[in-house]
Amino acid sequence: MHDSRALRVAIADDALLLREGIAKVLEGGGIDVVASVGTGDELLEVVRGGDIDAAVLDIRMPPSHRDEGIVALETMRASGSTIGVLLLSMYATPEYALRVMGAGSGTGYLLKERVSEPQTLVRAVETVASGGSVVDPEVVEQLVKRTRADDPLSRLTERERSVLELMAQGYSNGGIAQTLFLGLKTVETHVRSILQKLDLEESPEHHRRVLAVLTLLGER
């Protein structure tokens, strides 16, 4: 979509050290960091100023240190902004991941420590900027580990489970095929089987699929 030029990204985090680190990592990945602020409100100002492709922001920021990042995301979506938004958090909280996904497409939720994996962070920013979804593998791991009676996941094969986890993380069928070294057809077959077993509808919109899978995992 923005192949012609570098992505323009704004960063919001109350910890200056991290803000600078994230900027460095993103710039290392060929992304333009056009703004770096300390609060959600400041970020909203920047976004309103326009010409931003994506925002990377901390969930917990002043003033209340609760969920300012998600509130900022929801404000953006409510005002019609569709830029990519990647939320960072110190904790892998499935409930937040669901809320982030629920805000619409082009959203992501990652653990902060992923900044030490530059490719992961850069790819996540690129994914959300292009309208894709990203969910931290640890969130998915937590959800899958949850114990439930009459677990529908027990109906899945080992392979289908791996595919499901990647689906939940926001991988496209192509991405799954690449990650698991499978053919695209095989992945599509697995996905259809999974959706059928879990009684989920195949959605034309990619992020809806992520949300449906996460919701299912969360509600089991």
Binding site: A15, L17, L18, G21, I22, K24, V25, G28, R60, H65, R66, D67, M90, Y91, A92, T93, P94, E95, Y96, K112, E113, V115, S116, E117, P118, Q142, L143, R146, T147, R148, A149
Partner: protein, 596 residues
């Protein structure tokens, strides 16, 4: 019933039975021994025989209710001394006995007088009383000696009797003088007692009159008839039968009046017990003064309470005591009541006559003292309890706050630093690779992996100290997350809309966490349920499992920790855990009015 009491009652019953039997026997024998011409009418004799029976019956009652044993003993003595009047004719042939009996044939009258004097306290309480009793005793001794030493059968009115063996001199005039004089002295004393009682009664206020109205009446009737008898005796005319009958009735009414009066006073003391009851229930001051007036049957009673701030006494409405009311010469007396340590509590202004009933007043002032003391203790205990409750809540609050601060310090401090560190290490590794130092790059990669493991542990630790999700999303978010971590499948139903006070949320969270930890560790359950909802201004949390049950608060499975946390917020914990049938914990915590 104490064993001693049983024996005492039996002994007293025996004494009464013996004197009654003796009295009746003598009465009949005396009647038989009297020559038919001199006999009284049967109706009079019957009435005469009834008098000691009345005394005996009243003695039984007096033993039970009188303040001392003296009145009952006096009444029994009366029964015994009632005998000589009719018996000395029967025993006239026993020359050694009849003069003695004749000498004490008026003893019953002395006893009757003393019974009146010891009313109502059960002993001779003032100088007048002791003087009267002393004079009566001395006069009786003189009379006895006169009979023994001077009386002949003829002069003693017992012509059929044997000669008096103790007789020393022939002095019929002297004997007649003493004989009649003794009676006149007796009448004089009786009239003095009656007059005194009457004067007291007339001067007394309403409460006093109601207490002592029978007694002077009885005594006065008795004294009058006694006087009439003495006059007729002196004039040696036959006693008028009507007058004699009235006299008997008057005499019999003395012990009845005595018992009635004492019973009445006891009744008043019973009402002091009512005061005590009001005291226990913590009545207000106005009500207390009102019930005091009712207890004392003295509508003029006023209570002035000590006002520590102003250093004066004032009534319940705050009106300070009048100097005139405190005047000891008025018709009222002042009873000061002080605490055991001597601090003034109140003044009770009461009718002067109540001073006679010290036991009643003692009871009243004890009741008041208790009332004030109780009130003081109660408010002290309540204050202390409130302080303890508040400090317990503060401790829990401080604990929650400390955990929250630690978590935040970790989040903003150590965790951020370690994340930045990982980032820099990554940059360093990349640089190392750029410069072709692959082993260094690999080494740094391994370090980053270790760092991430450490971060994960730190994350778990911070979460355990205080779940950020709780501060951010409340119970509705945090409890399902908590349940998700439990190895036993948990069905969660949280219906607590909006946010609750932080302390309640964190307490609820840790209580559920502890309960689920118990489910996982001890219950052996395969399913568990957590339900939280707000009912009637309370947060009600129910944690249930299908495990082996048998849990209890004392079992040391962290249950005590739950109790402590919940009770610090005025909440309750209910454990239902029958063996083999699962465990249900029900926790209720009241919500502050604003958030309910």
């Amino acid at each position: 019933m104490a064993p001693g009491r049983k024996g005492r009652i039996a002994r007293r019953a025996a004494v009464i039975a013996v004197v009654v039997a003796l009295s009746l026997t003598m009465e009949i024998a005396g009647h038989q021994a009297t020559p038919p011409a001199e006999r009284n009418e049967i109706s009079y004799t019957t009435l005469h025989a009834l008098v000691p029976l009345v005394f005996a019956a009243c003695a039984a009652i007096a033993w039970k209710i009188a303040p001392t044993r003296a009145p009952a003993r006096l009444m029994v003595a009366f029964v015994v001394l009632w005998i000589p009047q009719s018996i000395y004719r029967v025993i006239g042939e026993w020359e050694w006995l009849w003069p003695v009996v004749r000498g004490v044939d008026l003893g019953w009258a002395v006893i009757a007088g003393i019974i009146v004097l010891v009313y109502p306290k059960g002993f001779l309480s003032d100088r007048f009383d002791r003087w009267v009793a002393g004079i009566a005793f001395v006069a009786s001794i003189v009379n006895l000696l006169a009979v023994l030493l001077l009386a002949s059968p003829e002069s003693a009115g017992c012509a059929a009797c044997a000669p008096n063996p103790y007789r020393l001199a022939e002095a019929p005039q002297l004997f007649a003088l003493i004989d009649v004089g003794y009676r006149i002295v007796g009448v004089g004393l009786a009239l003095a007692i009656a007059a005194r009682l009457l004067v007291r009664w007339v001067r007394a206020s309403v409460p006093a009159r109601t207490v002592a109205f029978l007694m002077p009446l009885a005594l006065f009737a008795w004294a009058t008839t006694l006087a009439a008898q003495a006059v007729t005796y002196a004039a040696a005319t036959t006693t008028d039968i009507v007058l004699a009958t009235v006299s008997l009735i008057a005499i019999a009414s003395i012990p009845v009046s005595f018992d009635a009066g004492v019973a009445h006073a006891r009744n008043m003391r019973a009402r002091v017990a009512d005061l005590m009851r009001i005291t226990r229930e913590g009545a207000d001051r106005g009500l207390w003064a009102e019930s005091l007036a009712r207890t004392l049957r003295d509508a003029s009673v006023r209570v002035f309470w000590w006002d520590e701030e102003r250093g004066r006494y004032a009534d319940a409405a705050g009106v300070p005591i009048d100097e005139a009311e405190a005047d000891p010469r008025g018709s009222h007396s002042i009873l000061p009541v002080a605490s055991p340590l001597g601090a003034p509590i109140a003044l009770i202004r009461h009718d002067r006559v109540l001073t006679d009933n010290m036991r009643l007043l003692d009871g009243v002032s004890s009741a008041l003292r208790l009332s004030v003391d109780n009130g003081r203790l109660r408010s002290e205990v309540e204050r202390t309890l409130e302080q303890v409750r508040q400090s317990r809540q503060r401790i829990v609050e401080a604990g929650v706050e400390a955990r929250r601060r630690i978590e935040r310090d970790l989040h903003d401090g150590a965790q951020q630093h370690l994340v930045s560190l990982g980032m820099r290490l990554r940059l360093a590794a990349n640089q190392a690779r750029d410069r072709g130092i692959e082993p260094l790059g690999a080494e740094i990669d391994a370090t980053i992996a270790m760092l991430n493991d450490a971060l994960k542990e730190l994350r778990e630790l911070a979460h355990g100290i205080h779940p950020s999700l709780l501060s951010q999303g409340g119970l509705a978010l945090a409890v399902p997350e908590l349940a998700g971590r439990c190895p036993v499948p948990v069905a969660v139903d949280v219906q607590a809309e909006g946010r609750l006070p932080e302390l309640i949320e964190s307490t609820a969270y840790f209580v559920v966490a502890e309960a689920l930890a118990n489910v996982a560790k001890h219950s052996g359950a395969t399913r568990a349920w957590v339900r939280a909802r707000i009912e009637d201004g309370e947060l009600v949390i129910v944690v249930r499992d299908n495990g082996r049950g048998g849990a209890s608060i004392d079992a040391g499975t962290g249950m005590l920790g739950i109790v402590d946390r919940v009770e610090a917020l005025d909440g309750t914990l209910e454990v239902e855990s029958p063996p083999g049938a699962g465990t249900t914990l029900t926790i209720r915590m009241p919500l502050p009015k604003a958030s309910a």
